[in-house]
């Protein structure tokens, strides 16, 4: 049965995923491989941060426990975060930054398109607003995957390696749990598994243009982010993000 706590959990999945990826991109600020990339990274980070604020604000309203976007972003521990594991993976190289973005953007666009017809008008509204931004993110990341895959031998090897190492974090896009299925039954959300074929088709098409091989479809996949079971990376990310806010309890900024 649909309850506010299920709705809250679902909304924080989208809010936390956007927030954590925004934070990862913000870490790169001023350190991109070209000035245009610096601007694009900051722009994407800013879009995702705006989306995170909309989702988290709504989550706080549904929860009705007096928590606003900042209380949710700054005062929860890693076990209470419900972001996808993919987005918390570190930016170990620019190839990883772009591949992480690409895998995510393809899924994000498909997911938001489904949410646009949510029976919850607020979800539909946030999804529609977000998708205007994420459509551009996807154009940019797909284009760069093609150019870097089909660039030099070195860039191709780097992209192939990033594609393989991030692949096991993409399974989580498509696995449903009780929260997903309850939301889908209520017409508020979608069946995650239903996005898989479209996601694979799009990724394959871009990889072909990029002369990259698809990683094995039956590969073992990580899971747990949506339920609050994360990789070791998230706690460090939160420590940095939350340090100042937590150091001054109750202060206004």
């Amino acid at each position: 049965m649909l309850t506010p706590s299920i709705q809250f959990a679902y909304l924080t999945r989208f809010g936390d995923t956007a927030l954590i990826l925004s934070q990862r991109l913000a870490e790169m600020c001023g350190k991109g491989p070209a000035l245009e990339e610096d601007m694009a990274l900051a722009n994407t980070a800013l879009d995702l941060l705006g989306q995170a604020r909309l989702w988290l604000t709504y989550a706080g309203e549904i929860e009705a426990a007096g928590r606003d976007e900042d209380a949710l972003a700054y005062l929860r521990g890693d076990r209470e975060f419900h972001n996808l594991l993919l987005v918390e993976q570190p930016s170990s190289s620019y190839a990883h930054v772009l591949m992480r973005q690409f895998y995510f953007d393809v899924w994000h666009n498909l997911a938001l398109a489904r949410l646009e017809s949510s029976t919850d008008p607020r979800i539909a509204e946030i999804a529609a607003k977000s998708r205007k931004e994420t459509a551009y993110h996807l154009r940019r990341s797909s284009d760069l995957i093609v150019r870097l895959g089909d660039g030099t031998a070195e860039s191709r090897a780097r992209m192939a390696s990033a594609a393989d190492s991030l692949w096991p974090y993409t399974g989580e896009f498509f696995t449903a749990d009780f929260v997903d299925s309850t939301m889908a039954e209520a017409g508020m959300a979608f069946d995650p598994h239903a996005l898989r074929d479209d996601w694979l088709r799009f990724v394959r098409q871009v990889f072909e243009a990029a002369t990259l091989h698809m990683p094995p479809l039956d590969a073992w996949m990580h899971k747990g982010g949506k339920q609050g079971l994360h990789t070791e990376h998230l706690s460090y990310l939160l420590a940095e993000m939350q340090v100042l806010h937590r150091e001054h309890p109750g202060a206004a900024w």
Binding site: C29, L35, L46, D70, Y94, L148, T152
Partner: protein, 343 residues
């Protein structure tokens, strides 16, 4: 604007034909007209020294925007609220955009962006020394917006009317965004100084550390500013360093009073006769030292820029290679199509 490179060597100023005449005509335009109303455009003839001075100044300004991202970006990941994080991200993104306009303006003078970046990383080109100071607390983000962007605006508003067209036009856009940056900095300071005792102390500490370096942003005293006189004759500089510095002090002291913060200068007092503030002596030794590379963050800022550049080499090479492949493929497909179209 702080760093003074060697003056142009008069012996290198010869143009291919009738050098003296063209240069005299150029100078006469400035002497007979009002400097601020003359616009030199990229294709106009200009003396080499004018070109070099502009390349130095515009590229230095562009580098300052790029390096200037770092001290503020230092706090994006730790911004204390999501709203502040969004504002700061947008601001740092604006700065990258300013760098882009300015590199483009400099490119109209015949230097490539690649060359300018090489000059920055090799230490040949300078950037504003203010960015060699560390951002130690969140209040430093406020102080940079309020003081550093405030000083930059005072320096830059006259440049919207400078004699080189592409630079003047870039500055119009930049100044609009800088005034938003300054307001957000002042707002951070306002919230902090009316916040908890610890927040107020953080704001005072930031003002204490950023006040003097901000005054140095206007460059050495007029008497010691080697390039100023010629730049003023050419309409590249419209007010002297000391005039602009005074303007900054007069404007900022009342803002500090409004915030309830103390300006760290025991000699600061209102001079009713002059209608301006008198202020204490600036430590020009510190200024010269930081320019020489001996500031708290000079090495760190260059290390980060150099590493970003080196780590990004494979990315830039790949994009070039891909573009070349595309061009080659297009050539390959264009020929048969033309052949098919032939009768």
């Amino acid at each position: 604007m702080q760093t003074e490179l060697p003056q142009a060597d008069a012996r290198t100023l010869s143009a291919p034909t009738e050098p003296g005449a063209e240069e005299r005509a150029f100078q006469t335009r400035f002497e007979t007209g009002i400097a601020a109303s003359i616009k030199i455009e990229p294709k106009d003839w200009m003396p080499d020294a004018y070109r070099r001075t502009l390349i130095r100044q515009i590229s230095q300004h562009a580098h300052s925007e790029i390096v200037g991202q770092l001290p503020e970006a230092n706090w994006i990941t730790r911004a204390p609220s999501l709203k502040r994080k969004a504002i700061l991200l947008a601001k740092v993104q604006d700065e990258a955009g300013h760098g882009l306009y300015l590199y483009s303006a400099a490119e109209t003078l015949g230097i490539s962006r690649d060359q300018m970046v090489r000059d920055l990383l090799s230490g040949k080109a300078k950037y504003s020394s203010i960015f060699n100071y560390p951002t130690l607390t969140w209040a430093d983000v406020g102080a940079i917006g309020w003081l550093v962007d405030g000083a930059a605006i005072i320096n830059q508003i006259p440049l919207c009317r400078c004699s080189y067209g592409p630079y003047a036009r870039a500055m119009v856009r930049i100044c609009k965004e800088e005034s938003f940056h300054q307001r957000q900095g002042f707002e951070i300071m306002m919230v902090l100084s009316s916040g908890t005792p610890r927040q107020k102390a953080m704001a005072q500490d930031a003002l204490d550390r950023w006040w003097w370096p901000s005054l140095m942003m206007f460059g050495p005293p007029d008497a010691e500013s080697a390039n100023s006189a010629q730049s003023m004759r050419w309409g590249i500089k419209l007010f002297s360093n000391d005039e602009l510095r005074q303007r900054f002090v007069d404007q900022t002291v009342s803002q500090a009073e409004y915030l309830g913060l103390r300006v760290p200068d025991p000699d600061l007092r209102w001079n009713g006769e002059r209608g301006q503030y008198d202020f204490g002596a600036i430590d020009w030794n510190e200024f010269r030292n930081v320019i020489k590379g001996n500031g708290p963050c000079n090495r760190e800022r260059m290390r980060v820029r150099t590493q970003a550049h080196e780590d990004g080499a494979w990315f830039r090479e790949a994009l070039e290679r891909h573009a070349a492949k595309l061009a080659q493929r297009n050539e390959g497909t264009a020929a048969p199509r033309a052949a098919q179209g032939a009768p």
